[in-house]
Amino acid sequence: MAKDIVISNSEREFILESLRAKQRLDGRNFDEFRDVSIVFGNEYGDVLVSLGGTKVHCRISCEVTLPYEDRPFEGLFLISTEFTPMAGGQFENGNSTGEDEVLIARIIEKAVRRSGALDVEGLCIVAGSKCWAIRADVHFLDCDGGFIDASCIAVMAALMHFKKPDITVQGHSVVVHPVEEREPVPLGILHVPICVTFSFFNPQDSETNFKGQDNLEIVVTDATLKEELLREGVLTVTLNKNREVVQVSKAGGLPMDALTLMDCCHKAYEITDKVTSQIIAAIKQDYAQRDRYAAVLSSENARDATA
């Protein structure tokens, strides 16, 4: 990524020097995740997530389609992550074979789709002939590092927020009820994976990193774009609230002590816990906002419980 952003030696040295003094440019602690904001749009499954200066939009859509031949009882689920120069000049239009693009797409795919976060069996309508196809379109709007973390939050928040139209099956014909006619139904979410990315910096030379016993490497949570450009290694951990490791990816880079990596996983769990609660709270609030007239419009009589 970002092959056209030039970072001067002065900046590189200064950022490393401040990391050695336990300082980050934006004043955060090493293990501090940036503030997440989750904003829902008018439709179900339309969410804008910002993580510091990074902005990611995700939109869920659905249609009725033919299931795969070898999986007649399962619906389809597709996550599309396409990078456009909208996210920053370093991304080329229509080129998704860049190293970082592939890694980001693969990690989101593994974290959400492969881990079975969405109940695809619940998407089956008529076995072998009709099923729902759910599509999550991720748009990267602004880039300040942490694309994986932000887009995973966006996809999960959007999936949890989304509601598909209700259906009735009569023999072989299926009636799809418009949203205005019948209350749409939410998707089956089996667990909520959250990605947390750690960046590694080497304050010494690479010989001490390989041969030394000191483990002085610096671990930084949720790097900004500048830190991402300078880091020497990266670890993305995906966890859910049930203390399950869903996916871990440390694709080479600076060798790190196994215990340090375990420590990262435990740190990630705390963040996962917090972010999951935040997503659930945000959805609850949004639903409450949508239903604010429900009490007024209800035709039920208020019954006196004491009577």
């Binding site: 074979t97 190293e99 871990v248 990816s249 440390k250 694709a251 080479g252 880079g253 790190m256 375990m262």
Partner: protein
């Protein structure tokens, strides 16, 4: 079809191994002495991987030229006949393969002393002839051997191995049958240390069991490192003996 018994109550696995046993590990180097600067052929269980290293040499294009260090490139060719069923499509340009290439490149970029070879390119070419679980680990071992054969300066060995977790028992070096039944972790361990250059988990594992799994993986990788070391030393001894015989 009954469910496979991955780990029997007697403590035996599908292929008769114990939980902490590696598969057969056989390696040879300089297998393609004429076509490449460094080469290795590796059998880790039923995984068969051929690795060719070309370089450090003149880069193919100016874009690969770096004035500070050598450019390392890794290309992975997963053959169509490498699995039980012949795949119809070529695996080249699959996202999974691209991901593996990137992971391997980034692993060895740190492990090699690339700053010793400025303005050159080192091409690593992997051919997977047969795969049977934990192929990423086998690729790491293959590259390590081939790079040593090519004479590229490295800080230390990088040894790759996969570990599965069945219930509470970690299973070292899983084959493909086990891989379908349990979640696995692939590690790339630096030499005799506990430093991980690569760590990939693709299925769910309880967070509290991870430490256990990593410990077994690291121990297994150290054993693989020793096996590679033995093979290399045997090869070196042959060469030295030959030299001595000629004089």
């Amino acid at each position: 079809m009954s469910r496979l018994e991955v780990y029997s109550p007697e403590g035996l696995r599908l292929d008769g191994r114990r939980w902490n046993e590696l598969r057969r590990f056989q390696a040879s180097i300089s297998t393609h002495a004429h076509s490449a600067d460094g080469s290795s052929y590796l059998e880790q269980g039923n995984n068969k991987v051929v690795t060719l290293v070309r370089g450090p040499g003149e880069p193919a294009s100016r874009g690969q030229l770096d004035g500070q260090r050598a450019t390392l490139r890794v290309s992975v060719n997963v053959t169509k006949f490498s699995k039980f069923e012949r795949s119809r499509t070529s695996h080249r340009n699959e996202r999974r393969v691209l991901e593996i290439q990137t992971s391997l490149r980034r692993t060895f970029e740190k492990a090699c002393l690339l700053h010793l070879y400025p303005r050159t390119a080192i091409d690593v070419e992997l051919h997977v002839l047969e795969q049977d679980g934990g192929v990423l680990g086998a690729m790491i071992n293959g590259i390590t051997l081939a790079l040593v054969d090519a004479g590229v300066a490295m800080w230390d060995y990088v040894a790759g191995v996969s570990v599965g977790l069945h219930d509470q028992t970690p299973l070292l070096d899983c084959n493909s049958l086990e891989e379908t039944a349990v979640s696995t972790v692939t590690l790339g361990v630096v030499g005799k240390t506990e430093k991980l250059s690569l760590m990939v988990v693709e299925d769910k594992i309880p967070l509290d069991r991870m430490e256990n799994v990593l410990a077994i993986g690291i121990a297994g990788a150290h054993r693989i490192r020793d096996l590679m070391d033995q093979e290399l030393r045997k090869h070196a001894k042959n060469r030295i003996d030959n030299l001595a015989g000629k004089q």
